[in-house]
Each structure stands twice: as structure tokens, then as C-alpha cells.
């Protein structure tokens, strides 16, 4: 198992390098100019100097290698220095990835936005698992019952109706139609400056998280409950279930201990596999509810042609995808003793 993990990790590195190169190439092919947004009064020779100071006059591979050096060597070193308060060589003078638009370090920008995304996306994930598992279990146990029919319809709606429509509909209902002094009124804009200090602010925080969390949770729960149902159905018809019942085990034990545990194996990997997709889907949800998380940072970066920021963020999304693919494969091997990667 360890051997397999190490081998996969070794293979991950060239994949990620290649992906980062592809992203860099796409951004580099683009016919736009980072100085295009600056005032027209800047004379052309100054403009040229600005371009030189951004390093745009050097050939493409030099810029790519420099980005690699900054991202893979300088930034991790910097993080280690910050965390452990140590200094390697020329600390403080090392070249770091800077955003063109704000001139601040990209890593700091990302660290600023990370908590909001993690809160909203993470919470929605937890909620979706709590919605999806019971629905999946019950609709498999009572196959073709009205509950199952309803569950099928619910999940069909869940992944057919795009998040930007469910989100906007929730805003129409809970922020526009419900009067604002009612207890059911919910804010449509996520306020990041809110600090949770007492019960009242905690209540405000929960209220502003309800809508974005539920929009994402509904979408995920729809897919997860389908997988749960299919996997439960596969296991329910197996021989060991009949044996367990024949032994005289209680129906609850058979269902929740024997069948559920075995059915969770593929579901856990599906959960791991779709974590990066959630970050992608969160771009839209963050935009609807004005959550200033990673997705919104990416959108503003794209609109401002902030190449280093977009490059780094897109690459981080790619890292998440590759990483969680690996996690899913390893989890599968760990959870299911029948599967061995040797």
C-alpha cells in the first residue's frame, strides 16, 4: 500500500508540472496587455519600462521557470520561515509571486480568502452528507415506494436545476418576498467583516450562511443520494445479508451495521472525488451571495487580467483535483480489503 502511494505520488509531480505549464501557456497565448488598464496619459516609454519591471520582456520559458521557482521553492520556504520563525539564507529578499493588480503577495491574498470558502463549502458538504445518506438508505431499503420515487425526483431536480437559479430563487423568496423584520428573512449578501464574539453574532453568522450552504448542499446531496442508493441496492441482494438475517440479527443491525458499512466504500470515494468540483461550483455560489472567497478572487483576477493571481489560483484548483483523485484511490484500497494495488 505504502509502495503504491509513493509510486502514485511520484507520478503526480510530473502531472502537476505539466498542468502548470499548460495553464501558463494558455495565459501566455492571450493577446492582452497588463498595462492596458493604466491611464492613457502614461507615455509609451514609461509603459515599456513598466512592462520590463513586470518581467514581460524575457522569453516565455524563462518566465515559466521563474514562476516555478517562486511558487515551488520560494513560497514554501517563506511559509516555513513564517511558521517557525527561522531564516534561511537571503530571507526577506526572496522573489515571491505578486499580484499585478494589488501588488500584494498572491499567497497572502489566498490566505485572506480561504476561511470564507472553507466555511461555506465545508459546511455545505457536511450538510449534504447528512441529507444524502438517510435519503439513499431509505430509498434503497424501500425500493419503488413513494419515498423512493420522491427521492429520485428530488435528486433529478437537484442536479438539473443549476445552482445559480436555486440561489437566485432563494434570494427572491427569503430576501425579497419575506418582509425584512420577519424571523425568516435572510440576508442575501454575505458579510465577511462579521466577527463571531457572542450568541447574537453567532446567530447572524448562521443566518447569513444558511442560503449559500443550502444551495451547494442541495446540489451535492442530489448526486450523493443516488450513489448511496445504488450502492445499498448492490449490497442488499448479497448472500451475507441473508446470512445475517438468518442468524436472527435485528433488522436495524443488518441494515445499519452490515449493509451500510459496506455500501459506504464507494460512496466515500465519490465524496473525496467531488471535493475539488465543489470548489469549482462554489465560484458561482460565491458570486451570487457575494461571499468574498477564492472563487470571487479568481473572477476579479480574471476581469483585471491579473495573470500571476489567476495562474496560481487555477493551479491550486488543479492540485486539489489531482490530490483528491489520489486520496480517493488510496481510501478505496484502505477501506475495501478485496482491493490491493500490488
Amino acid at each position: 500500500m505504502l509502495n503504491y502511494t509513493l509510486r502514485r505520488l511520484m507520478f503526480t509531480i510530473p502531472t502537476l508540472l505539466f498542468i502548470s505549464f499548460v495553464i501558463f501557456l494558455i495565459l501566455d497565448m492571450a493577446p492582452n496587455d497588463p498595462t492596458g488598464n493604466l491611464p492613457m496619459t502614461i507615455p509609451p516609454d514609461v509603459r515599456e519600462k513598466i512592462r520590463q519591471s513586470l518581467g514581460l520582456d524575457s522569453p516565455m520559458y524563462v518566465r515559466y521557470l521563474l514562476w516555478c521557482k517562486q511558487f515551488f521553492i520560494n513560497e514554501p520556504l517563506n511559509l516555513i520561515e513564517q511558521w517557525f520563525d527561522v531564516c534561511f539564507g537571503d530571507c526577506g529578499e526572496r522573489l515571491r509571486v505578486r499580484s499585478w493588480a494589488t501588488r500584494s503577495y498572491v499567497v497572502d491574498l489566498i490566505a485572506e480568502r480561504m476561511p470564507q470558502t472553507l466555511w461555506v463549502v465545508g459546511m455545505s458538504y457536511v450538510v449534504s452528507i447528512f441529507i444524502a445518506l438517510p435519503i439513499g438508505v431509505i430509498s434503497a431499503y424501500r425500493q419503488y415506494s413513494w419515498f423512493d420515487q420522491f427521492g429520485t425526483f428530488f435528486s433529478m431536480i437537484g442536479f438539473s436545476v443549476p445552482t445559480f437559479f436555486t440561489g437566485v430563487m432563494l434570494i427572491v423568496i427569503f430576501s425579497v418576498w419575506v418582509p425584512s423584520d420577519s424571523i425568516f428573512w435572510l440576508p442575501s449578501v454575505y458579510d465577511t467583516t462579521l466577527e463571531v464574539t457572542d450568541l447574537h453574532s453567532l446567530w447572524l453568522q448562521i443566518r447569513q450562511m444558511i442560503m449559500p450552504v443550502f444551495v451547494l448542499a442541495l446540489y451535492n446531496a442530489a448526486q450523493l443520494s443516488r450513489f448511496m442508493r445504488a450502492s445499498m441496492l448492490d449490497n442488499l441482494s448479497q448472500d451475507y445479508v441473508r446470512t445475517a438475517r438468518a442468524k436472527g440479527l435485528k433488522e436495524k443491525t443488518v441494515l445499519l451495521v452490515h449493509v451500510l458499512r459496506n455500501s459506504m466504500i464507494p460512496v466515500v470515494t465519490v465524496i473525496a472525488l467531488s471535493v475539488p468540483q465543489v470548489f469549482g461550483g462554489a465560484i458561482i455560489t460565491e458570486q451570487i451571495f457575494r461571499v468574498n472567497g477564492l472563487g470571487q478572487l479568481l473572477i476579479t483576477g480574471i476581469q483585471g487580467a491579473d495573470i500571476p493571481l489567476v495562474q496560481t489560483l487555477t493551479f491550486i484548483f488543479a492540485v486539489l483535483i489531482v490530490l483528491f483523485n489520489l486520496v480517493a484511490d488510496i481510501l478505496y484500497g484502505l477501506l475495501d480489503p478485496r482491493i490491493r494495488y500490488d
Binding site: T15, I19, I26, S160, F164, M169, V176, G281, V310, A318
Partner: protein, 338 residues
């Protein structure tokens, strides 16, 4: 009394006849097909029946409410529906009688520039549907070609499947956004604002959604390749391209058809998502996603502006997904036999 000929005829069942009779038993799929046909008819023939120009600016009629607002006029409902322009109601905020701004000329209202929403919805639906179909076709062709090549020719299998894995590892939505942002202006200059954006969006949606098709097709081709009839075809000296076109392609038609229907749904959703983020079609060339995006600014004054386009997208995608579901069952011989 039936003749012998007719009896023989009745027993004669074709493959597609079987598929159709299985498909009909799936209630959701039938309902989905009816809804989809209605929407398709609405966007295709609608502009011939509803003559209002979607781009006509009628600034006097700006922000007209949908005719359904009449339902909230209390005792005047009947008058309101028969002659909407004459109705006044008491507005508690302004403390005076006000004219309720509804009109049969704009049954579901107008936007802030007085453009008719119904006409825009039909026009937008045409674009959304066209993008969905074209992007699906492109991704289907790419996916099938790559899947068949990878499954049939051992030489290119490793390379093509690594490429597929690589595409699956790319963060697609961010990349789509980046590519559109970067190449929008170039293409707009080359092909004009409408065709340029249309080509760009169809191309990038198609080029980033073929991976699932390729994987399924490759799996099926790998299994088919070991069957006796392929061996027989090879042994009589049939060239590879003819084996593929005569024997392989007809046998992998059902997974291709299923992924085609699902592909339309994802393409429509992706296009609307891009438009919703403000990076799709321009405002004067509306699609459903763009109408929804434009409507969100005016969500407090007129929620109808977001509800109708959103409903159109959702219903289309829902019906297409149900059709795909029914098709999958109907094309699966193990289910069809029962």
C-alpha cells in the same frame, strides 16, 4: 379477421421498435420528451407567432410587470385581466392611487429598457439550444474518435488515455473563464460580435467535455474487439477503418446516444453559468443565462425577470436528463427483455 400477412407483420419486431416500446413505459422520459418538444417548438416557432422584436426599445413601457401581477389586485382581478391599462390600486407606500403597470402587449413584462421579455426569452432560447446542440456534437465527435482510436489501436492507447486523464485533472470552469476572457476580443474582431462569441463558447465547451464519452466508448470498444465477429471480419481481411465503421460503431451506438442527451444538458448549464458570470454572450444578444444574470440586478423590483429564464433553463435540463434516463433503460438489453 386478420390475414396471415398481417399476423406475420405484427410479430415482426425491429430493434428500434423494441427500444421505443420500452422507452414509452418510462413515464418520466415521456413527460420529459413532451416538455422538451414544447420548449423546442416554443423557441423555434415562437418568433413567427409572437412578432415583437426582442431588441426593440420601448422606453415608455420599461419595467412593465408581468400580467400575473393582476392576481394581487383583489376585487379588480377580472377587470385587470380584460383591460389592464385602466386599473388603479391604492399603494400604501406612496399613499395614493397608482396605475399598475401591466399590459397584454408584454405578457411577462419588459426589462429596464422596455424590451419585451417574452420575445427575448424565445430569442435567448434559440441561442442556448443552438449552443447546447453544437457543443454536444463537437464533444461527441471528439470523444468518440478518441475513444475508438484508444480502444482499437494499442499503439496510441497509452498516449490518448493519458491525455484524457490530464483533461480530467484540469480545473475546467476556471480555465473556461480564463480562455473566454482572453480570446473574446480577438474572435469578436475576426468573426463579428455574435458569431465570434458563439464559435468560442461552442468550441471551448465541446473541447472540455468529451472525456466521459471517450472513456465509455473506449471501454466498450475494448470489450467488442475480443468478440468473434470482429475476429471473423479481421480474418477475411477487412481493413481497420471498415471494421470500425461497419462493426464497431453500430454496436457502441447506445452509450453514444445516452451521452449525447446528457451532453446537451451539461452544455446548456455550462453556457448559462458562463453567461451568468458575465463572461458569455453580450447583453444585446441574450441567452437564458444572460437574461438571468441581467435580471439579478433588478431582483427586488421584478423577480419575474429571473424566474422565467431560470425556469426555462431548469425545465430544459430536467427534461433532457429524464429523456437520457429513459433512453439508458430502453437501450439496455438486460432491462428491455423484461
Amino acid at each position: 379477421m386478420t390475414s396471415i400477412d398481417e399476423q406475420v407483420e405484427a410479430k415482426n419486431r425491429s430493434l428500434w421498435g423494441d427500444v421505443w416500446s420500452q422507452f414509452r413505459t418510462h413515464k418520466g422520459a415521456m413527460l420529459g420528451m413532451i416538455v422538451f418538444a414544447v420548449i423546442l417548438f416554443g423557441v423555434a416557432a415562437g418568433p413567427y407567432l409572437w412578432h415583437t422584436d426582442p431588441q426593440h426599445l420601448d422606453i415608455r413601457a420599461k419595467n412593465t410587470n408581468p400580467i400575473t401581477s393582476c392576481l394581487f389586485t383583489g376585487s379588480q382581478i377580472a377587470d385587470c385581466f380584460s383591460d389592464p391599462e385602466s386599473i388603479k390600486y391604492y399603494d400604501p407606500d406612496a399613499e395614493q392611487l397608482q396605475r399598475i403597470k401591466v399590459s397584454w402587449a408584454h405578457p411577462i413584462g419588459t426589462d429596464q429598457l422596455g424590451r419585451d421579455l417574452l420575445a427575448q426569452l424565445m430569442q435567448g432560447g434559440r441561442v442556448s439550444m443552438a449552443v447546447g446542440m453544437a457543443a454536444m456534437l463537437l464533444s461527441l465527435v471528439v470523444g468518440t474518435v478518441i475513444g475508438v482510436l484508444a480502444g482499437y489501436f494499442k499503439m496510441v492507447e497509452g498516449l490518448l488515455m493519458r491525455a484524457t486523464d490530464l483533461f480530467l485533472a484540469l480545473p475546467l470552469l476556471p480555465l473556461l473563464l480564463v480562455i473566454i476572457m482572453l480570446f473574446r476580443d480577438t474572435l469578436r474582431n475576426a468573426f463579428g460580435p455574435e458569431t465570434g462569441i458563439f464559435l468560442l463558447i461552442v468550441f471551448i465547451i465541446g473541447i472540455t467535455s468529451w472525456m466521459q464519452t471517450a472513456r465509455i466508448v473506449r471501454g466498450d470498444v475494448l470489450a467488442l474487439k475480443e468478440r468473434e465477429f470482429i475476429l471473423a471480419a479481421n480474418s477475411i481481411g477487412t481493413p481497420s477503418r471498415r471494421v470500425i465503421s461497419r462493426h464497431i460503431l453500430p454496436n457502441i451506438l447506445s452509450p453514444i446516444m445516452v451521452s449525447a442527451t446528457l451532453g446537451v444538458a451539461t452544455a446548456i448549464i455550462t453556457e448559462s453559468a458562463l453567461s451568468f458570470l458575465g463572461l458569455g454572450f453580450p447583453s444585446d444578444f441574450p441567452t437564458w443565462g444572460r437574461l438571468l444574470f441581467d435580471g439579478t440586478t433588478f431582483i427586488e423590483q421584478s423577480p419575474a425577470r429571473v424566474i422565467w429564464p431560470g425556469l426555462a433553463i431548469s425545465l430544459t435540463v430536467l427534461s433532457v436528463n429524464f429523456i437520457g434516463d429513459g433512453l439508458r433503460d430502453a437501450l439496455d438489453p438486460r432491462i428491455r427483455g423484461r
